[in-house]
Amino acid sequence: MMNIEDQDAKPVKDKANAFPDVCPTKRNQLDLATVKEQIEDTTGPQYWRSLEELAGSEEFQEMMHREFPKGASEWLDTFSRRGFLKTMGASLALAGLTGCTRMPDTEIVPYVKQPENLIPGRPKFYATAFSLGGYASPVLVESHMFRPTKIEGNPEHPASMGGTDVYAQASILDLYDPDRAQNITYLGDVRSWNALLSALHGPMGAAKAMAGGGVRILTQAVTSPTLAGQIKDYIQANPMAKWHVYEPINRDNVMEGAKLAFGEPMETRYDLSKADVIVSLDADFLYAGFPGSTRYTRDFAARRNPDANMNRLYVIESTPSSTGMKADHRIPMRAAEIEGVARSLASNGTTEGSANSGSAQAAIAAIAKDLQEHKGSSVVIAGDHQSAAVHALAHSLNESLGNVGKTVFYTDPVDANPVNRIESLTALVQDMQGGKVDMLLILGGNPAYDAPANLNFDSVLKSNTVALKLYLGSHRNETAELCQWHIPEAHYLESWSDARAYDGTVSIIQPLIEPLYGGRTAHEVMSVISGQSGITGRDIVQQYWQKQHTGGDFDAFWRKSLHDGWVEGTAYQSKGGGGRKVAVPSASQSAQSAQNGNFEINFRRDPAIYDGRFANNGWLQELPKPLTKLTWDNPIMIGPAMAERLKLNFKDVAELEFNGKKVKGAIWIQAGHPDQSITVFLGYGRTRAGRIGTGTGFDVYPMRTSQSPWFANGAQLRGTGEIYQLASTQGFQTMETHDGNSRPLVLERSLEEYKKEPNFAQEEEPKKHLTLYPGFDYSKETYSWGMAIDLNACVGCNNCIVACQSENNVAVVGKEQTLKGRHMHWLRVDAYYSGPRDNPKGFFQPVPCMQCENAPCELVCPVQATVHSSEGLNDMVYNRCVGTRYCSNNCPYKVRRFNFLLFQDWETPQFKLMRNPDVTIRSRGVMEKCTYCVQRISERRIDAEREDTIIKEGDLQTACQQSCPANAIVFGNLNDPNSQVNKWKAQPRNYSMLADLNTRPRTTYLAEVRNPNPELQETKAELTTSVENG
């Protein structure tokens, strides 16, 4: 094992130099004591965006004063002012001539034989599925002349209902990634497919003679019935061969918990539409990566309507998550203590073990009581990283509450080979070390990077104990480097395959494009290994289903399955109702309380790049993470009280020591993080990810062992005195005024208060005549577009941001530019906190362009590049814009984005294929912003006019609305009295942001209503203090 300290200390230090503080303001120590006072005195803002704001730090004050963060609009590069003026003078002199540019001749290339049913210029949609950790997300893919350009959810599929998650949305960028492996290589040299076949001939014959002895197949989680069938067939024919499965973000504990409770591995599925009370034991079930999260979000959000039967969510969690921020009651707690909570809940809230303080105990008793009052309509969800015991306890709780068969369902495991991932990999490593492996076939994944450190998988793979190593992977990554043969893996949009969704429903994965780089699928590789080369992926999948299909017309069945996106009748049936005997595990050793200077360490998948597999995806790297709004980096996350004690501040580089390994990373102080606990995020510090992902953040896999893959005690943290720039967008585009008269931008009441005063959000709008400009009567038009966003439904999943980026060709700018506040997202999701710093409530507010009727931006544009359309859209005309940025300066919502540099990649040919052809690619010096997806409006309007009708409700959705798993965004025609958007806007919770400015925004919000347990109201203040001291 290499010395991690040396390995990691360097890049961090170098990068700190690579990104010098662009705005060398006075950096005052973040006064966390002030934070505490501010909250207690309620002198600070009621809703705050970051602890820095709360402390009233000078840095933050300065940021608020400025339109763009310091450095965004200044010329800070090494170009001198004089040099700049010279160049500008020359270009100004020539500017008049630019109008006279002749367009170059371009070619127009028709088909030789045009495919049937293809109408050039009109996109087509195909159903397929994206899978992550084996679980399929059914999607529809928009295809322009057979170039996939956009991912949408499959509205008819029960696992999607039209929503997607961030990973599925961003997967289109992976398809076109120019860094993907493009050739079959042997020891780094390019080889042909036939060379591979002949090289395999000998070893395959030898393996066959030994009945597969010495053959090991290592896959990621497999839910594909076809692939599982192929591997099982192979093992049947060669019984000495073995199939190992490894996923770094695995569900071992879930399966072990089921085994503990029921004696067999089982999949748990929830029906949140029927759940009145939801208790999450460290489960982030509303964020991508949790199987079924898209559907759960839909069901959860539908039950957040305060006018109907609103649900209540309790979250007991370690690392603050977006799910926790949506909770009506959130109890931050070290991960190890959660088992104690589960036990108390299982024994009706009675004291057992004294890990929790009295008031936390009271809260838990109240939760237990609430659960008892909602027998059959409650649900307890345990998080994937909680111990098997917690899962077993959750099963026992759901059973005793009578939830099984009502809100909780058990099915066969969706996974085709639900072995314990870590045990499976451990066995493989032992065999490799013991020289028992002659041929190792790694189908996907990146185990050399993400295997538990104590297995030393990478060094074992590197050594010569295995004679033949083949790796099928999309990139030439850490694992590919250590294998002799590397076969480029086809992207799912280039492949034939199949996969199961969280409920077991099989989706057939069909390709939308020929493999761009000659990639192969696992099916093709398996068929070669089985000695059946020459068979196509389509035939493999089709033949498998032909065997499965009973009854009539296979062709009709096949076509229907491809068209719909799933195979009918493949969902797993729930295994009976309740009444199952659930074994409750006896109490393990009670959680040791972490001692001072000896903290709990939590390993979590990264909200943006998951386990590291998306590290080379620019959209995900630049996606502000739900709570921290960090981009391009992972931090060492700690709570405010701990930061205060250790005298650590934001961006301080600290040294984390665990298991004898050391790593350096920048500190992020997260409000609501439990004390005495540290969270680090997996997936960063890649050494061979590609030009985007290599070298971002720091790698914590070397600390993660097979004994404690998720959390453990015994970590130490020390400040180093260095500073490392973290690019968080949290402080940018703040809408606060700097005079201290902050007005709440998110509005929130409890359900009780709402019932007493439903109109709490209503604010008297300024009179219409209070403007000097003549009004326009929009009511006479056919359409008048408007949007409403339900803050109650929004779970902060960030999906809309990526959907918008994909639909509107929004550029990626990189970390350095993000630090300057030059990121380009048209839609941002602001996170606000309120309440105590150690356990605040969180709020998410998506902010697109408000499309103000009295738009302040339009009045200041000297060239009329932003003007109103008769349908009430605030149009942005790129080709008129001269880049004065006055509009952005005058925008109270800070939703305009300026192309300070040429951010779009105009060169890479792959990206030309990816872009939405209906949206202009913006160049340097041009302002841009949300257009309400005007290209979609135009297209639908033209379609409707051709049929002599008008656009009907439901025919037109903006990209953010369409992808939203929570149905939190509604868009439509305000001149249609029956439109959904009008119904939302008629609700008492509807309010305009900054209404007093008389901008008359077309985008309005439905204020948030929380449903706290009345019994817990009074103990709450007490609770938080005790947790803080705990």
């Binding site: 008049g96 001539l97 109008g99 006279c100 540019t101 002749r102 367009m103 001749d105 371009t106 070619e107 127009i108 290339v109 028709p110 088909y111 030789v112 034989k113 045009q114 109408i119 050039p120 210029g121 009109r122 038009e781 056919t782 003007v867 109103h868 359309s869 008769s870 349908e871 859209l873 149009d875 005309v877 790129y878 080709n879 209906d918 949206v919 202009t920 690619i921 257009t931 005007v934 290209q935 409006i937 135009s938 033209i942 006019e945 051709r946 002599d948």
Partner: protein, 231 residues
């Protein structure tokens, strides 16, 4: 000591005016230059792999526009015919013509013909054929007398003022939908009135206004909103 005679004041004043005129003239020249066919490429016959004659196929043979430009009624893009469309006829007639060799070669090898685009709009302009056809804008309103073009050229400037002229005064150009593909269509006159729905119109303005109503052409304000063409 006086170096310049008094009269030089007049010269100075005159030169001031001259400078203004020169700058103005230069600007005017630039603006006019922008409208010249050199810049707009209107009227230029570009090199094509096959000297395809619209005149021969449309006027000579009477082939409808939509035989080749199949998607013009359903899509933004009118469609360029695949080689197969050419071969439909040219597997029977002119099978050995030398200048059709690129077509035959394309069909043989499966490699597309590469035409040079004639009517070209900038990338930030989004034009939709189908809606114009639906509203009664004739092909030759923009494309000119295609039926008289032995070699294809761009007839109009296709600059924004060209588009706006029609978007502002569509009544001057609209024709009955069934006449859209008629390359010989004449606007109504006293002598040759146009009959729509049993009603006879003898001047374009009354016809245009009637069609505007009938085809529900949106108001001038609507169709001159920026997002009509720019997004």
């Amino acid at each position: 000591m006086q170096i310049f005679p008094r009269s030089s004041n007049a010269v100075a004043r005159g030169s001031l005016i001259l400078v203004v005129l020169a700058v103005g003239g230069l600007l005017f020249a630039l603006l006019e230059l922008e409208r010249t066919p050199y810049i707009t490429k209107a009227g230029q016959r570009k090199d094509q792999p096959v000297p395809f004659s619209h005149k021969h196929h449309v006027t000579g043979l009477g082939i409808d526009c939509r035989y080749c430009h199949t998607s013009v009624e359903q899509s933004s893009f009118a469609g360029i015919p695949p080689t197969k469309t050419c071969i439909n006829c040219h597997s029977q007639i002119w099978t050995n013509a030398a200048y059709l060799e690129p077509v035959r070669e394309s069909y043989r090898t499966g490699k597309s013909l590469q035409w040079t685009r004639v009517n070209q709009l900038p990338n930030y302009v989004y034009f939709n054929h189908s809606i114009h056809i639906n509203k009664g804008v004739g092909c030759n309103n923009c494309h000119g007398p295609v039926d008289q073009m032995p070699l294809m050229y761009q007839a109009a400037s296709l600059q924004m003022e060209f588009c706006l002229d029609c978007h502002r005064n569509s009544e001057r150009y609209l024709r009955p939908r069934e006449q859209v593909f008629n390359m010989r269509y004449q606007q109504p006159s006293e002598g040759e009135p146009v009959v729509v729905n049993g009603q006879s119109y003898s001047d374009q303005e009354s016809l245009g206004n009637a069609l505007k109503k009938q085809y529900k052409v949106r108001s001038v304000q609507d169709i001159t909103s920026c997002n009509t063409c720019h997004r």
